[in-house]
Amino acid sequence: MSHAITDSATMLRRNLRRALRYPGLTVSMLAMPVLLMLLFVYVLGGALGGGIGGDIRYVDYLTPGIALMTITTSTMTAAIGVCSDLTEGIIARFRTMPISPNAVLTGRVVDSMIQTLLSVALVIAAATLMGFRPTATFPEWLAATGLVVLLTFGVTWLAIAMGLLSKNPEGASNIVMPLAYLPFLGSAFVPPDSMSGGLRWFAEHQPFTPIIETLRGLLLGTGIGTSGYWAVGWCLAMTVGGYLWARSTFRKRALEA
């Protein structure tokens, strides 16, 4: 146990070095949300902005949604990473070495969180250049940051579990796709009450909607209501569920002949 932190740090260094050496995936993960931001603000924003109602500007409405998409799509890096570790056989080597058993996964989670949080910061900076004007006070910023970190932690564990289930890195990037794009079917880009029938019900009740609403409320002063509890609850559920799922999948995969 004494080496759990050093071993996780070693694994983190390994992952960051890999990301820096082959930045293709990282760069596309960083660039995509900014491109989405440009698309939605300048191409679609005129039309969509008129339909969202209220007195909120579309760039303000959109930014928390894009920030959340940034988090969910970045998890692809984690899923692909753990999966390629398994397929390259290096995990089998790690498992015959006297190292902390959780270090492999912990190093991967921390790596993914660093990359994801950097992406979120980048997208917020880009949004500010496009006119995003949050009204948050310092404690509200702190709470929003806390929520973002908690959410990143939860979805990263989920993505790692999914990556461990996949037979190859292509499969890993496919299997996290529904998770990555789930915010589309929520309040990320347009309010759910503009949607129709069953989709509207789904959009109102899916986990990411209360998270987006809470983030929006914290940054822009829109109403949060009970969303805050749901948001924290969903994040904790994803974290615990994702962690347990990842751990048991890791053990199972490792035992395969």
């Binding site: 050093t6 070693t10 290096i90 089998a92």
Partner: protein, 319 residues
């Protein structure tokens, strides 16, 4: 660092493992003394890799017991992992890190410290003839170089007991010999080596003791020489310079088979010095002129065929 063990390096008793209803190991008893090389020989699918995976704590056995360096593999996995090094059948290197970075990664995981880790990495790169390739990623390596890097990574932590699962499968003859030399070097330093192979000459070249695994059981065990004496087929081939001397020798040695075209005479002989000397004395006493003499000792291929009824090189499809 290396302290002598009281007991054997590796010991198993009644080790069993099944996958579904397919029994892979069916009661294996094994005792490997420290500092020796043990070769586990068998065709594909015989259970060699399963044996390595159990002994290196990767998978649990279904029954029986196994200990490595005196530590039970099931109950004291951490203690076992602290003294072993494993090179699996498939490459276990990080393909996005350079050779040197791979070695430093290992050094960090063995907590060697920054300076010592780098020193050890450079030492191993030199030792494994990879000094020039240290700054390149494994994608730029040949199969033999990759295998050497794999082995070097296994040795970073100076393990006392090393498992090599088919270390030369898929390598060209020169790379095979390079790996053999590395193994001999390890043994000279007192390391215990557990080797699996499908290559019978490899076991013959490297091992102190060989066990032949077939359908989950040891069908033969002993030194390479002992195994060879289990089977007939050893002979001496005498080549004569004239048909007359061949004819004379054929009369002298009635059991032998003459080949008049090649002027050779094949005499059944187990290849041991005493019988060889007797044979040569008889030929010499008769004043016959032997041009050339070759001794054919049965190799492990013959052994495998004799024991299992199948040639050793036969590839069984994995079930």
């Amino acid at each position: 660092m290396t302290t002598a063990l009281a007991g054997p390096a590796i010991e198993t008793a009644g080790l069993r493992k099944s996958f579904g209803d397919h029994t892979v190991l069916d009661g294996i008893d094994l005792r490997i003394p420290e500092g020796s090389v043990f070769a586990l020989l068998g065709p594909n699918g015989a259970g060699k890799t399963t044996m390595v995976r159990i002994l290196s704590t990767l998978i649990p056995a279904d029954g029986g017991r196994a200990s490595v360096a005196g530590h039970d593999v099931a109950a004291e996995g951490d203690a076992v992992r602290a003294v072993i090094g494993v090179t699996g059948q498939f490459s276990a290197v990080d393909n996005l890190l350079t050779g040197r970075e791979n070695l430093i990664l290992m050094a960090d995981l063995y907590h060697l410290g920054r300076a010592e880790g780098r020193r050890r990495a450079d030492e191993l790169l030199a030792l494994f003839d990879l000094a020039d390739a240290g700054g390149k990623i494994p994608a730029a390596y040949s199969g033999g170089m990759k295998r050497r890097l794999d082995l070097a990574m296994t040795l970073v932590g100076r393990p006392r007991i090393i498992f090599l699962d088919e270390p030369t499968t898929g390598l060209d003859p020169r790379s095979r010999r390079a790996v053999w030399d590395i193994v001999r070097g390890l043994v000279a330093d007192g390391t215990t080596v557990f080797l699996t192979t499908q290559y019978l000459d490899e076991a013959d070249q490297l091992a102190d003791r060989v066990a032949v695994l077939d359908h989950g059981r040891f069908v033969a065990e002993g030194t390479p020489g002992e195994l060879k004496r289990l089977v007939p087929g050893g002979h001496v081939l005498l080549r004569f310079t004239t048909p007359a001397s061949l004819a004379a020798a054929t009369r002298l040695l009635p059991g032998a088979a003459a080949d008049e075209e090649n002027l050779t005479l094949r005499v059944e002989d187990d290849g041991r010095v005493r019988s060889m000397r007797a044979l040569l004395e008889r030929i010499d006493d008769a004043g016959l002129d032997v041009g050339d003499l070759t001794v054919h000792r049965p190799d492990l291929d013959d052994v495998f065929l004799a024991i299992t009824g199948r040639p050793g090189a036969e590839k069984e499809t994995a079930r």
